[in-house]
Symmetry: none
Subunit: 226 residues, 4 copies
């Protein structure tokens, strides 16, 4: 080591992306937290997966808890607001909005690692009440509000039957949560001979929901057309 006479010649420029570090750590942490759970994920593993040393992790996040919180925060707000705009600006029928909306949700969030956050929150909400509150405020409530608006609009426009909107919301949320949980359940996947087909699932659920919500259910749509 001391006998490297000449200084490392090739460009000390482009000082490797310092800015990227936190993002890499968050990505690694998301992956592992989702994969193994909070407690079973060792901070050293996260660092290694991010390609840095243990010490560096704590340089950017003062504790494992803070890292966890950052992971949750990171994977929630941003992506979501973007999507909700789609809903806000939609011009078509409420029926189409629901169909489109859930599909887009699945493509952009549900099918990605980010949806693992939901499972994480379910598991850890008791250990991170403050974070759960944050999640509730930033994710659960906005979704509720959004769906509420959509449903109310559909009712007002005469597309949907009059209903307890709250229950209508659950009608939509429940299957999506189910889908997310199954997606992140390796055992279920591994053991079942027929792993779940997310697209078919979503279609069937939407059909059913709309069938139930609509005043005069279009008989065709309700019948699954393979």
């Amino acid at each position: 080591m001391p006998n490297s006479i000449s200084p490392p010649p090739t460009k000390p420029k482009r000082e490797r992306r310092k800015e990227a570090r936190p993002a890499e750590l968050l990505a690694a942490a998301l992956h592992l937290f989702v994969e193994k759970g909070y407690a079973a994920t060792k901070s050293e593993e996260v660092a290694k997966l991010a390609g840095v040393s243990k010490g560096t992790l704590f340089l950017y996040f003062s504790s494992k808890e803070e890292l966890f919180k950052a992971v949750v925060r990171e994977n929630i707000s941003n992506r979501f607001t973007e999507i909700s705009k789609l809903w806000d600006n939609y011009e078509g029928s409420s029926t189409d909005l629901l169909r489109m909306g859930l599909r887009v949700w699945w493509e952009r969030i549900g099918s990605t690692k980010a949806s693992g956050i939901t499972k994480l929150m379910i598991s850890e909400e008791n250990n991170f009440p403050e974070l759960a509150a944050f999640y509730h405020e930033e994710v659960a409530r906005p979704i509720h509000t959004l769906l509420e608006k959509v449903l109310q609009l559909g009712i007002d426009k005469g597309e949907f039957r009059p209903m307890d909107v709250q229950q209508g919301i659950y009608l939509i949320l429940a299957p999506m949560l189910y889908l997310v949980i199954r997606k992140h359940s390796p055992i279920t996947y591994a053991l079942k001979n027929n792993p779940m087909d997310a697209d078919a699932f979503i279609k069937a659920q939407i059909d059913n929901i709309l069938y139930g919500l609509s005043l005069h259910p279009p008989t065709k749509a309700a019948t699954p057309s393979p």
Copy 2:
């Protein structure tokens, strides 16, 4: 506290209650595991909640892991077979069977602490693959089979429309899982101004499910009657 007329019962330390211990420990463990998760529950806490010392816990369960497994097993198989008999012997219409079945499930399992097991398994399946397999075999699969039979029978009898039975099963499972998760989610409960009404939820879900499943949906049933 003030109205404790009788003097403090001077609870005798070192009570010998060999028969009762395992059940007490399992109850305590179920409570804490559901409340805080597996990793965050310290074995000494479980012992204390069960009114015994740390050592006693290990007298009955050789390790924390074994305790966890016992908790899962204890709250599953027994209770479960009992219920599935109800379904098997049912004589009425498939529609009624579904209504009745889910209500009974809620009363006997869903609304009790035992349903916390489901949430536990979702959270910990990555850490206990072997146990997850057990759960899958003992619980998930039987439920699937049961629902499959019910749905197929309804289709054969002309009560339900022809459908992809697999998706029909999800139609039923998803809301029940959602209900269970919300039940064990203190934050959701605490924050919402309107905590969930399980009965209303179940009714609404069943109505919707049946509405979608049935050939000629009775328009009345589908309309929530407040």
Copy 3:
């Protein structure tokens, strides 16, 4: 002791051997201590092997340490004094005395479990210095003294050559200790294709010792005659 008012009424008939209990416990303890070592022997095991409960063990011995001490004491003094008489009263030649003495020692002590005590003391003397001192006083020193006398007598009688008696003692002790250690070494026994033949060993060692000790070694004796 002072409060023994009435004299022991002499057997309220065959009251199942209360007197035997300590002896049984000591025997069990000796066996296990020798077999597995002090620390690796659990007091419950000792009790079980003695056919009593854990509590009973502590009824007779106030602690595991006391039990250990009792085991050592029990297996030392008694047996030994008996043997040393043989030596004291011997009338024949010193050569024969040595031959006979070691053989008897092997038969009565060396080949029995009691010799495990020696190995135990070697292992535990640091943890039980007081006991080691006792052992030294009760066993090691008397043996030394005995051998010293024998050797000195042989020298005085002109049977043995003049020598440093201390070294002469070691000449005798070393092989006997070696024999005892090997006897209690299961691994050595298990692995060797040719397990040790104690009689041959003793004979060879005595021959050698006597050959070295004697003034005019009989050339025949030195040659092993199978």
Copy 4:
């Protein structure tokens, strides 16, 4: 303590000495294991004696058992092969080889802490059968083989009388083991007014052995010259 002229060196906590740690820990462990036995030595003590914390110990040795094994291995194989070369390449008479060999053994191994390993193995072989097998294979057997060769050569060359070589080996091993055990027996040393003189002991033993082994024992050599 009073004559420490220089001020307390203010030893820096948290020294980084990756290279040196294992050796320091092994030395500490050897000392304590030999001193107190395996079970009675707490891992924290070992760490403290090595000047590190408990955690550091487990950084280098995955368990107490592994530490023990490392201690045994460390103090055996290395040192041992080195010595056996001396024997292999020896050119002189078998008599001289034995004299020289045992002296060198004593200087390089017997008199050092490393010989405590032998005592350790005797004490712990029941608890570590696998390790005992290793020791047997790596140490006991090679020694046997070595001595066997030496004795057989001496016989073939006519230096030694014909004999049962196996017994001849014991003739040599027994006193050396005795010496090692006494060396590590503080009580024996403390209580005796005349602590053992290893050199005298070895000389006396060798003389005796050679006297017994040789065809025409030189009468002078047999007589101890003070």
